[in-house]
């Protein structure tokens, strides 16, 4: 190696020069700009949209407008019901299936499990036309059940839980059986408590996914009664409706606020759950 310095001083890779810090923050600010801009537009009167004055008057009027121009309360309720229902359904269905896959000798188990794995990436988007026809034959169009039901047998959930259940020592199960537990009690008192971190990780991923889901709810719903927030906002801010952008920004912040706050509060868990759910 033909370098001039025999060694680099230790602080060159341990600490970081102030120039680099500035660059890093600049990059982050450019990156977060769309969000900052939405905050700016939402909290200021609309004449300040491209007119950045530090002391522009703050206002909450845009939020009031948004709240009164679209049934956001109803959308919140729908999204909340949807997310709760989906997560509970997924926990029940995936726990049972994962338990069976992890601990029972079933003929054809591998074929069944391969089918589960293939679904890891087959979003309803791929089969949207066919899924729509089935949902309409079952009378699920325009219902919150219709939005959530196709996701209940989540491949990711089964996969993660099966992996976790497989690591739990059989001895614990045997001990529980000697104590006189039946299979349901064993599942409930041995497996479920030991898989708590997996449930937390998967639950967080699932909540943010279903809170944000768009295409399937868009296709399945066509009324205020069942529309979740994302679709409601999409309808509200569609370019052809000609709503004021300050109002749209306020509405946008209203719909993302709960998840942003949740991310802030549970950042550590969120970060870990994404890594966990992604890698395994």
């Amino acid at each position: 190696m033909n370098t001039t310095t025999p060694y680099a001083p230790r602080d060159r890779f341990v600490s970081i020069s102030s120039l680099e810090t500035v660059a890093a923050w600049l990059l982050a600010i450019i990156w977060i700009f769309p969000l900052l801009y939405a905050f700016w537009a939402a909290f200021h009167p609309s004449e300040f949209m491209v007119n950045f004055e530090l002391f522009a008057p703050l206002t909450l009027e845009n939020f009031a407008n948004a709240w009164s121009q679209a049934p956001f309360a109803r959308y919140y309720l729908n999204t909340f019901a949807l997310v709760t229902g989906v997560v509970i359904g997924q926990f029940v269905v995936c726990t049972l299936a994962a338990f069976a896959f992890a601990r029972f000798p079933i003929p054809g188990k591998n074929v069944l499990f391969m089918l589960v794995l293939i679904q890891l990436f087959v979003f309803p988007e791929v089969l949207i036309v066919e899924n729509y026809r089935i949902a309409s034959e079952l009378g699920l169009i325009n219902t919150i059940t219709g939005i959530g039901l196709p996701y209940v047998a989540s491949a990711l959930g089964i996969f993660l839980l099966r992996q976790t259940f497989k690591t739990i020592p059989r001895e614990l199960e045997d001990a529980a059986r000697i104590e006189g537990c039946n299979w349901l009690e064993i599942l409930w008192k041995v497996y479920v408590p030991l898989a708590k971190p997996t449930y937390l990780a998967y639950g967080l991923v699932s909540i943010s996914h279903h809170w944000n889901n768009f295409i399937w709810p868009l296709v399945v719903t066509n009324s205020v009664e069942s529309r979740p927030l994302t679709v409601g906002l999409g309808v509200f801010s569609a370019p052809e409706t000609g709503v004021n952008w300050a109002t749209v920004s306020a509405a946008t912040l209203l719909s993302i606020a709960p998840l942003l706050v949740a991310f802030l509060l549970f950042q550590r868990q969120f970060v870990q759950s994404f890594l966990r759910a992604g890698i395994r």
Binding site: S15, T21, A24, C94, L112, L127, I215, I256, G278
Partner: protein, 294 residues
């Protein structure tokens, strides 16, 4: 020792446990997938009264159809562009944060936020910023003499959707890269730096190769994301236009199936998408297995 362990009484129990999952899968996956396969081999007449078996004619037609081929190349450009932009920016951000000490956690929170935002909503935000008449970026671009208009210019539109899609995915990539970087032993980097390797060289000869499992994993995830999970962004920004220049495959299935109501063709498109998904899944699992052994 662990030869035959009759764990639970009753042969029905495992099947009962699997039943809910199997039923939902049958209704919302197997049956629709079968329907798509079946429909893709049929053609309906103009009134939707009779359908005739046409073999692979629907597929052959698709591959002769200029708009479908266009959609395929648009999807390829979009997927590659989104993956490149989101992964390179994420890697840059992650390696900077990895060297930061004091403000690391604030910085991370800031960077993770876009992930909480739905693609549909990210689309609205970007549509707003790039709006040719009221948006702030076209306003600034005009000052340097560029007329931004994604309503007329296909390349402007493509750039817009790539930026919006990549923006949202950067957070995800960032987290994985950061985790990958933190698992690289500091002693390796110190050793290289004692040998006089510049930061740039340290990155390309040590850090980047050690990150390659993460990079490969993220590549598949990003391609899948760009191909299947960006409907909301396209819908909110360009709706496939102008002149189909951002009409990615998933958007086209939706447009043809619900707006155009061409069932045979839309089913054939679904089948092609499914094949792509299965191939990507296989790649992913091959990789994960290799990683576990490694």
């Amino acid at each position: 020792m662990q030869t035959k362990r009759m764990t639970f009484p009753g042969r029905w129990l495992p099947f009962a446990l699997l039943a809910p999952q199997v039923i939902v899968t049958l209704i919302f996956f197997i049956w629709p997938a079968g329907q798509a396969l079946y429909q893709s081999l049929l053609r309906e007449d103009a009134f939707g009264l009779r359908s005739t078996f046409v073999g692979l004619e629907n597929f052959a037609r698709l591959f002769r159809d200029g708009s479908y081929l266009n959609s395929m190349s648009v999807t390829a450009i979009f997927a590659v562009g989104t993956t490149l932009v989101s992964m390179s920016v994420a890697l840059l951000l992650a390696s900077t944060v990895n060297r930061m000490i004091r403000s690391r956690s604030t910085y991370t929170t800031l960077l993770v936020w876009p992930y909480a935002i739905a693609p549909a909503i990210a689309g609205v935000l970007w549509w707003f910023i790039f709006n040719p008449s009221i948006g702030i970026v076209p306003y600034m671009l005009e000052m340097v003499g560029y007329q931004w208009n994604h309503r007329n210019s296909g390349s402007d539109a493509m750039l817009l959707v790539i930026l919006a899609a990549a923006w949202k995915q950067i957070s995800y990539n960032f987290l994985f890269f950061l985790a990958g970087l933190q698992s690289i032993p500091q002693s390796l980097i110190e050793a290289a730096s004692i040998d006089g390797a510049s930061p740039f060289k340290r990155f390309w000869t040590i850090i980047f190769p050690l990150l390659s499992p993460t990079t490969f994993f993220l590549m598949v995830v990003n391609v899948v994301y760009a191909m299947f999970d960006t409907f909301g962004i396209i819908h909110a920004t360009t709706q496939g236009g102008p002149a189909q220049s951002t009409n990615i495959l998933v958007y086209k299935v939706y447009a043809d199936g619900f707006v155009g109501l061409n069932l045979g063709s839309s089913a054939a498109q679904s089948v092609i998408l499914m094949v792509i998904v299965v191939v990507l899944t296989v790649i992913q699992f091959r990789f994960i297995e290799r990683r576990v052994n490694y």
